[in-house]
Amino acid sequence: MAATTAIKPFAERLATELTLCDAVDQLFGTRLGETLNELLIKGLMDFFDEGQSVWRMPGRMRGLYRSWSRIARRNRRLKMRGLDVGAILAEAEDPESMIDFVMTRLGIPEPLWMDYFALELTRLHGWAGFVRWRAQARHYYWQQRNPADLVEYVALRLVLALALITDAGRRLKRDLSYRALRDYAERHPRECLLRRELNAGTVLPDYAHRIEVTLDQGDPGRIDALAWEYEGVKMTREAESRARHLLKVVDAAGIPRQGLLDRPDDSLHAFIDAVFAFKAREGFLWTRGLEQTYIERLLREIDRAAADTADVADERPGEADAGGRVQALFCIDVRSERLRRRLEAVGEYETFGIAGFFGVPVSFVEYGKGHETALCPAIVTPKNVAVEMPHKHEHHRETLFELGHELVHDLKNTVLAPYVTVEAVGLLFGFDMVGKTFAPAAYNTWRQRLESRKPPARLLIDKLSRGEAEELVAHLQDEMVIRAIERHFGIKRESVTSPMIRELRETALGNRSGPTQFARQNDIDPAAEAVFITSLQVEYRVNPNQRQIQLEHLAKVGFHHRRQAQLVGTALRAIGLADRFARTVLVVGHGSTSQNNPYESALDCGACGGDQGLVNARIFAAMANRREVREVLAEHGLRIPEDTWFVPALHDTTTDEVRLFDLDQLPPAALTRLSRIEEDLAAAGRLCAMERCAALGETGITKPEVAARRVKRHALDWTQVRPEWGLSKNASFLIGRRALSRALNLEGRAFLHSYDHGIDPDGRLLEGILSGPLVVAQWINLEHYFSVVDNEAFGSGSKVYHNVAGRFGVITGNVSDLRTGLPAQTMLKGREPYHEPMRLVTVIEAPRALVEAVLRRLYKPRELVRNGWILLVVLDPQTGQAHQYHSGGWQTRPIRLPG
């Protein structure tokens, strides 16, 4: 088999595998592709910037194409690069016609256009992917403000490509249109071959100089002769290297060489070809090996555990008295598995797995931030808003430290002030430099004390009735009136009566007119009064329009209590927690702590849109603790005892510490139980830290306390590029009762969703699990899969070279594609992959017929299973069989399941 026939002839690859820029680069040794990327990325970084630059790109609100072209047009003076972008931009107004113009000018035949666009899009897949995501993210603030879509992106690329090709054509004195290049490639295939070899870096080193000289001389006869010779030599050398490789394989396999060498040439050829044909499929074979081994082991362990527990049956912790027992809801995240296992070993805990947003999709307005953040999986768009309200409405005061910080930041970002600033305060940064490097734990703990803490705050999650909303608006307006009076007239609250305030408010709202009691009493003349009323309307925004807007926004706040009951009920039923409630039910969200880590959100909760899970836990607990909600639930047959309390908590996945929250909302009786629970959690966390240290390869860990200190250090250390392994090594998703996995050590590799098919006869609950959590888990699994199989292409490479661009993304070095996936430090240990590339092994404990029925109803999960993105195993408790889905059919084997 000839080496060169593996590659299609150059002419055919044009516009299907190579853009014109690529083709010119390969033929003439230019660097158009690279230059195009650099020019484009510069523009993209300026446009998509979310606040890094102080002097921003002007006119961004007009969209990517228009704002970019306005700047590019002014670049016309840049003749030395020969790029006459301005002239090109003058040809068409909108991106669509620009694409049409460029494609026509390049002479690419219309049937190839779609292929060509696809090619252009894959050249910088990170940026293209970002633009695509943004274009559909309608709620993304920056997309609303500075819109961009893929059409504009392609138009930008094509404009630059045309400019570069035109310029290169002028310099090379050649026509570089599609037609011309194709003709050239067809007419001079040998010259093309040599040119490609030379410029694509695949040339045989000892021929490089000869080829270069011969091409420069341009004598067609000599070029053909050289190409002929070169092809022969290259083919021979490649065949030799393949033969050598085969010998190596044969030696490694222990097959005697002579037996192979004695065979006829044909069969040796066939051998070599087979070995190399296999190479392409080798990786996937290993993946399948990993997967099948994992499945076998998992099923064997479940089987063995079931046999063991059958011997010591009837000792389920659930049957003990309700007082000592604690139930805990954890996120399905693989990192919960460790803590759950340890916690169950420490005391009488019954744990459940549920998607970390606890089934409550919500937009959250945090105190001190003031914009909505969607806390739910990316597949859901929340309709309700929860607002965090401080207990006391004081003006938020920043500490002097923060004020100073802000001031220095402000001074840094000017033209002439940074210099004296650096001389004045530069040395103070030495504290950070030394403290964070030499004593990260102690220093960061101390520094956090300098920052102002958020005042205690509660979540407003209840829907307001129309009357309540009106009352609230009126109340807030009264507050404004009081402050306005004090500021304008210096009159304090004690000399103003409530009716006067109400009267002023109504006047400002236009519900009444004429002089007010307030004006009369304080001798304010009508003119001054009118000025004051106008000021109320304009500056203090006490006016009918504003009132209407406020009422409309208020309507979005909170959940109606029936809706709350529905959310709580669905979540509890989905995990099979419908009775036998313990007195304390922990609702544990999770988040991570790390320093100096652009990938920190990859360590947070995927079910909460990459945020911490605490807010959802707090909302869920607050809902479940409400009397009205419990009444509605009871109506529907879900009875939560009165002395059962839900307590929200946050699991720090970097340190395995768990903190309880909202304790001020619990009755004293419930509080007494918590100190023991906190101790249990701490103990379990320390045991997890031991496991974690072993996985991270820490040495010198002798006791759990030492391990706990070590992981704490990881969380606070700014030199730490691997604060935790995150979800690396995730392999499986178990949907079933905890009894199924309780006796197993799943090594933090399994997503666990609690599910009891016994209370789900029609499969509605399973439907919810498969269409939500499973899909998200599969995304996570695939992100890890691709990040590890080619970390440079699909992952984001080493963190050591990362550079945060525009406050939203990561690039490598000076200029690069926007990095996707996960960094090498999370994927690899040394040079070996740490995460094992496996497709998600999904185990469902339910009758097979039920699972099949549910899958028939769900498009996306069905396609994932059918197309082999998910490996499905159904454990049928009714028949005692394990069914593994395999290309359209089921492979069945018997299995024992826990009772």
């Binding site: 970084m45 890094q52 630059s53 002097w55 002007p58 006119g59 700047i71 590019a72 002014r74 840049l78 030395m80 603030y141 000289v213 307005v365 931030k369 003031g370 914009h371 607002v387 309200m389 003006h395 002097l400 100073g404 402000d410 001074l411 970002n413 000017t414 033209v415 940074p418 004296v420 650096v422 001389e423 530069g426 940064f429 950070d432 430099m433 030394v434 490097t437 500021r487 925004r541 406020q550 926004h553 706040v557 100096n596 959100s601 700014w718 030199t719 590029v721 691997r722 050591v800 070279y801 945060v804 525009g806 406050r807 690039i811 490598t812 000076n814 200029v815 090498a824 040394g830 040079r831």
Partner: protein, 559 residues
Amino acid sequence: MSLLAYSLPLVMLLSALAVSLTAPRLGEGVARISVLASALALLLAGVLFVNQLGAEEPRLVGVGLTIFNLYVDALSTLMALLVSGVGLVVHVFSVRYMQDDPGYTRFFLLLDLIIGVILLMVLAGDLLTLLLAWHLLGVCLYFLLSHETRRPAATRYAFWTLFTHRIGDLPLLATTGLAYHTYGTLSLPELFAKVAETPDATTLLGLPFAETVGVLILLAAFAKSAQFPLHTWLPYTMDGPTPVSALMHAGIVNAGGFLINRFAPVFVHTDGVLLLALAVGLVTTILGSLMMLMQSDIKKALGYSTMGQMGYMVMECGLGAFSLAIYHLIAHGVFKATLFLGSGAIIANARKDPNIPEGEIYKFMVERKVPKPPMSWVVFAAITITVPLLIVFGAHQVVDEGFLHHQGAMILLLFGWITGAQTLFFVYKLGAERPFLVLLYVILSFGIVILTYVVVGHAFDALLYPDPAFREALYQAASVDFTWFLAVLLMLVVLIAAGWLLIFRSAAAQEPLHRRYRGLYYGLYALLSRELYIADLYSRAGEKLLAASRRLNAWLRWV
């Protein structure tokens, strides 16, 4: 004593050797050797510095050769302390930060090597040693920047650095030759002594020695300290690992400032040469910050900011404030290294404060924002313009009244004034509940900061240039005709004050300036967003050069 001085660079060089020998056996364990060595180096530098504080006279120590003489004085020991301190931090930082890197041991080897070379450079007592270290510094840096061997871009950009640094070697080489030709010596103290004896000596082509060498030294410093138009390499060094950037911005780019200070005894006898430093430094300062403000990625923004800071440092030298330049490079080094090492935290900050305006619900329900009381911008502008001026001048008056007689000082005070005004403008924009109270705080703290800064500046003066007459002479060397200077100064003061008034007025009217001068704004943006086309010019020149050499190659039939 001489042993102590020699052991300083030797510790790091030996550590590099030890790392390379033990790397196959220890693997990532070599970091321990490296960290230990750099801790030892810091200790030695500390002892050397304290020792030097006690001893009055600078000393030249040698091994009896023309090369490898070390000059131990306040400047060299202070710089050694800075370099070894930053070196230790970078070492400790890299132990975990670089873990699992395929070139882990090579990285530590190079790190030790480069710190050893910098220490040799700051301690160099003769021109040959200085030249050697100056040259090797660029080479080591090249290897550190191209640490990622799999990315062609890393090597390409590292080559820019190497190239510019080679350009910077040439003037120093010329200096060495000229010094030997004119005075027959390569030893630095000896050279300085001879220059002081016969300051008007001429050299090749009848050029005045002091002025020629002054210009050459400035050129060498410009290349290493990224002065316009030799700056492009600096912002494009981000393909190197983060700790390298930290080390570079704290201990390598400021080598220019050190070099100029080292040759202060020559600059004293020059006339008008320092104006070049002033002009180039000022241009670099302004361009550096302008382009820093436009960068949309954190590392290049930090890179351009360093360019500006280096410009300011060179400008200070150009104004005759040599010791202030040293203070500046130390303060900036600490500041910038910290920012680089912590540059990954940008995402955490963005999550905490994503720059999104507050929603309607929040504004009205949670924050209950009361409109700001109308502040008179005129009053505020008047305070902003006058108060810092009084504080800045007052502080210098308190500490050293003679300072104000230097022209250079006046220019620096202008910068102080602008900074103070910017601070007050910050308060104005903040629109706090009680603006005048905050204003008082700010003015107080600004006063304190400026006072300490002035005191520190004078401490550096006393440490580095204890002879007041010499300091005076330096300022004199940087001075120009008085009436001329006065006219420029007055114009600047008026311009700055007018600028502030304009800014305040547009802020009060809530009409940003860029909206009023839209055309100009777009034009400037387009110009600066291509970084003044300097990088483009470079690559075009590079391409031409390569093409020419290729033709030459083919023509000469080499290979």
